[in-house]
C-alpha cells in the first residue's frame, strides 16, 4: 500500500471514529440536533462542551502516544522501545501528580502540563545518562526500569502524604488514565506543547531512516546524532508530558501501534511517524468509545482498557519477535 493511500485510510478511520464519539452517549443527542435550533442550549452544551473536547483530546493525545512510540523505536532501533520504557510516561505522571498534590493545579492550571513536560524530560534525561551514550537496548531497558521504579516510589510517597482519602482516590484514578470530564480549556492547554512537539518530530524522518544502517554510517550520511537525539527527546517530553498531564498515563499505545503498522510502511522508520500518529489517535478514540459502550457500573478507566488489551499483545509481540531476528 502506498504511503498516501495508507495515510488517507487512517485519516478516514480517525474521522469516522471521531464522528461516532461525538454522536455517542446518554441523552440521545447527535450532531444533526445541532442544526435544529429549537433544542437550544442543552444540545450545544452536550456536543460542544462535553463530547467534542473529549473526542478531540482523545485524538490528539492518542496521536502523541503513537508518534512518540514510533520515534523512540526508530531512535533506539528497537521495536520494543516505547515512551513508557524510557520513563517519559511515569516521569510525566509524577510531574503532574506533584503539581496536583501541591495544589498548584488549582491556582494556575498551565502548571499541570508544565509539570508533566518537566517530569517527562527529567525522567528521559536520567535514563539516557544512566544508560550511557552507546547503550544497548538491554542497558536502556534496565535504566528505564530503574527510573520508572523511582518515579513510582515518589508517586507512592505523594499518595502517602496526600491530605485526604479523596485526594488519594483522585490521584490514583487519574494515573489510570481517562478522557472524561475534560473541557475545551483542557484542549487549549494540550495543543500548544503538542503541536510544538509534533513539529519537532516532523524533520526527523530522514535521520531515523538513515539510522537503519547504524550510527557510524548515519553520521557519514549527514545525520547529526546528538541533535537528532536531543530533538526527539524534547519532542517526546513536550507531547507526552502535555498528554499525560491531561489524560493521565495511558499505556501501550506507543508500543502497540508502531509495531502493528510497521509492516504497512515496509519497515521504514520515517514513514512510520505520521502513520503511528493517526493509528494512535484511532486506537485511543476506539478505546474511549468502548469504555462508553460498557454497561453501567464503575467507570472503566481508559488506561485500564489499553493495558488489558495491550499487555497480552505485548507478550504476543515478544514471542513473535523471537522468531524474527532483530
Amino acid at each position: 500500500m502506498s504511503i498516501s493511500r495508507l495515510l488517507t485510510s487512517l485519516g478516514l478511520l480517525v474521522l469516522v471514529l471521531m464522528l461516532i464519539s461525538i454522536n455517542l452517549g446518554t441523552g440521545q443527542v447527535n450532531m444533526f440536533d445541532l442544526l435544529n435550533s429549537d433544542q437550544g442550549n442543552a444540545v450545544r452544551l452536550i456536543l460542544l462542551e462535553i463530547r467534542l473536547p473529549r473526542t478531540l483530546i482523545a485524538a490528539v493525545a492518542g496521536a502523541s502516544f503513537g508518534i512518540c512510540g514510533a520515534a523512540m523505536q526508530g531512535l533506539l532501533r528497537n521495536p520494543l522501545a516505547s515512551p513508557g520504557l524510557i520513563g517519559s510516561s511515569s516521569g510525566a505522571a509524577l510531574g503532574a501528580v506533584t503539581v496536583l498534590y501541591l495544589g498548584l493545579g488549582q491556582t494556575f492550571w498551565l502548571l499541570m502540563p508544565f509539570g508533566g513536560m518537566l517530569g517527562a524530560l527529567i525522567a528521559m534525561v536520567l535514563v539516557y545518562v544512566l544508560a550511557g551514550r552507546d547503550a544497548s537496548i538491554v542497558t536502556i531497558v534496565l535504566a528505564g526500569i530503574a527510573i520508572n521504579s523511582l518515579a513510582l516510589a515518589l508517586m507512592s510517597l505523594i499518595l502517602n502524604l496526600a491530605p485526604s482519602p479523596y485526594a488519594v482516590r483522585e490521584i490514583v484514578l487519574w494515573t489510570l488514565g481517562s478522557v472524561t470530564n475534560l473541557g475545551m480549556n483542557d484542549l487549549w492547554v494540550l495543543l500548544p506543547p503538542t503541536v510544538l512537539g509534533w513539529l519537532l518530530f516532523a524533520g526527523t524522518g530522514q535521520g531515523l531512516d538513515l539510522l537503519t544502517l547504524g550510527e557510524d554510517t548515519a553520521h557519514s550520511m549527514g545525520v547529526n546524532l546528538g541533535l537528532l537525539r536531543s530533538r526527539i527527546f524534547l519532542a517526546v517530553a513536550l507531547s507526552i508530558g502535555a498528554a499525560v498531564s491531561i489524560t493521565g498515563a495511558i499505556g501501550f499505545i506507543g508500543l502497540v501501534i508502531p509495531h502493528l503498522l510497521r509492516p504497512l510502511v515496509a519497515y521504514q522508520p520515517g514513514r512510520l511517524l505520521p502513520v503511528s500518529a493517526l493509528g494512535g489517535a484511532a486506537m485511543l478514540l476506539a478505546a474511549d468509545i468502548v469504555v462508553r459502550l460498557m454497561p453501567p457500573g464503575p467507570e472503566i478507566r481508559i488506561g485500564v482498557l489499553t493495558a488489558v488489551v495491550g499487555a497480552p499483545f505485548f507478550l504476543f509481540l515478544i514471542l513473535k519477535t523471537r522468531r524474527w531476528q532483530i
Binding site: 532501533r77 530522514q206 537503519t212 554510517t217 553520521h219 557519514s220 549527514g222 519497515y267 531476528q325
Partner: protein, 258 residues
C-alpha cells in the same frame, strides 16, 4: 581530492594513527593495507570525523573537513564500514535507495533519476533478483554487496570502503573489486582497506602500507609489497607471480622482527 597531512589520532588515550600523510586523487583507487591493529579503520573514521584528529589536517578539495557543512560532506564522502548493521528488515531495493538520501531535502521522495541509479547499482552488484527480499534475511556476502550498493548510490567523489570483500566468495570478490575499480575509473577517488594482497595488487592503482600507526610504504604494488616489507610488517614471506600476472601468496610466517 583528499589530502591528509601529518595527522595523529588517539583512541582511548593511545595514539593509534601516529603521523600519516596521504593523498588520493579522483580516478585513483588506493589500497590501504596493514596488519590488524595498524590503524587503518581508525584512519578512515578520522577522515569522516567520527574520531577527532589530534594534530594535522584532513582536506577535501582543499577545504579542511571540519569547515565543510555536514550535508555537503555527506554528498562528498561515502563510507562502507566493516560489518555495518541493518537494523530494520527493509527490502534490498529500499536499503540501496537510502544512499540517495543525502541528495534529497527532508521531505522529498526519490525521483525517477534516483530510482534509475538504484536499479543500475542493483544490477552491478548482482542483487536485482533479491530486490524485494528483506535485507535481514540475506547471506553475509549478499548483505555486504547491498551495503556497498548503498554507498555507491551516494555517487560521492570519494568512497571509503573498510574490508568490502572479506566475506565474499571468490567470484563476488572479483566482481566487487571490478566494480570499485570501475567506480574509480569513472572519476571518483576510492580508498579500500583490505587484507587480500593479490586483489589489492591487481585492482588498486596504488597501495599504502601501514604499520603501528605509521605509513611504511606508498606506491605501486611491486614497490610496496616486496619481501622486506612483508617480513617487517606482516611477519610473513610470500611466493610471487610473474611479470604480467602479479600475485602474492602469503606462504609462511617468519619470526616477529618488530
Amino acid at each position: 581530492m583528499l589530502e591528509i597531512n601529518n595527522i595523529e589520532v588517539h583512541m582511548g588515550g593511545q595514539p593509534i594513527v601516529r603521523d600519516i600523510s596521504l593523498r588520493v586523487i579522483r580516478g585513483e583507487m588506493l589500497g590501504l593495507l596493514g596488519p590488524n591493529g595498524a590503524g587503518k579503520s581508525t584512519l578512515l573514521r578520522s577522515i569522516l570525523q567520527l574520531i577527532p584528529v589530534q594534530h594535522g589536517s584532513v582536506e577535501l578539495e582543499g577545504r579542511p573537513t571540519d569547515t565543510i557543512p555536514i550535508q555537503q560532506r555527506a554528498r562528498t564522502i561515502a563510507y562502507v564500514p566493516q560489518q555495518g548493521p541493518v537494523n530494520w528488515p527493509l527490502t534490498v531495493e529500499r536499503l540501496v535507495a537510502l544512499g540517495r538520501l543525502p541528495h534529497l531535502p527532508a521531505w522529498q521522495r526519490p525521483s525517477r533519476r534516483d530510482q534509475e541509479i538504484v536499479e543500475r547499482i542493483l544490477i552491478e552488484t548482482d542483487l536485482s533478483h533479491l530486490k524485494y527480499r528483506s535485507a535481514t534475511t540475506l547471506s553475509g556476502g549478499e548483505r555486504t554487496r547491498a551495503l556497498l550498493g548503498r554507498a555507491l548510490a551516494v555517487d560521492a567523489p570519494l568512497l571509503l570502503a573498510d574490508e568490502p570483500v572479506a566475506a565474499l566468495d571468490p567470484a563476488h570478490q572479483l566482481q566487487i573489486m571490478q566494480l570499485l575499480r570501475g567506480y574509480s575509473s569513472a572519476g571518483h577517488a576510492v580508498i579500500v582497506v583490505m587484507h587480500d594482497l593479490t586483489l589489492a595488487a591487481r585492482y588498486c592503482h596504488r597501495l599504502a602500507l601501514m604499520h603501528e600507526g605509521l605509513l611504511v610504504a606508498n606506491g605501486s604494488a611491486r614497490e610496496v609489497l616486496n619481501a622486506e616489507n612483508l617480513a617487517n610488517v606482516y611477519n610473513i614471506n610470500a611466493r610471487f607471480g610473474e611479470d604480467d600476472d602479479f600475485y602474492i601468496i602469503p606462504w609462511e610466517r617468519v619470526a616477529d622482527r618488530s
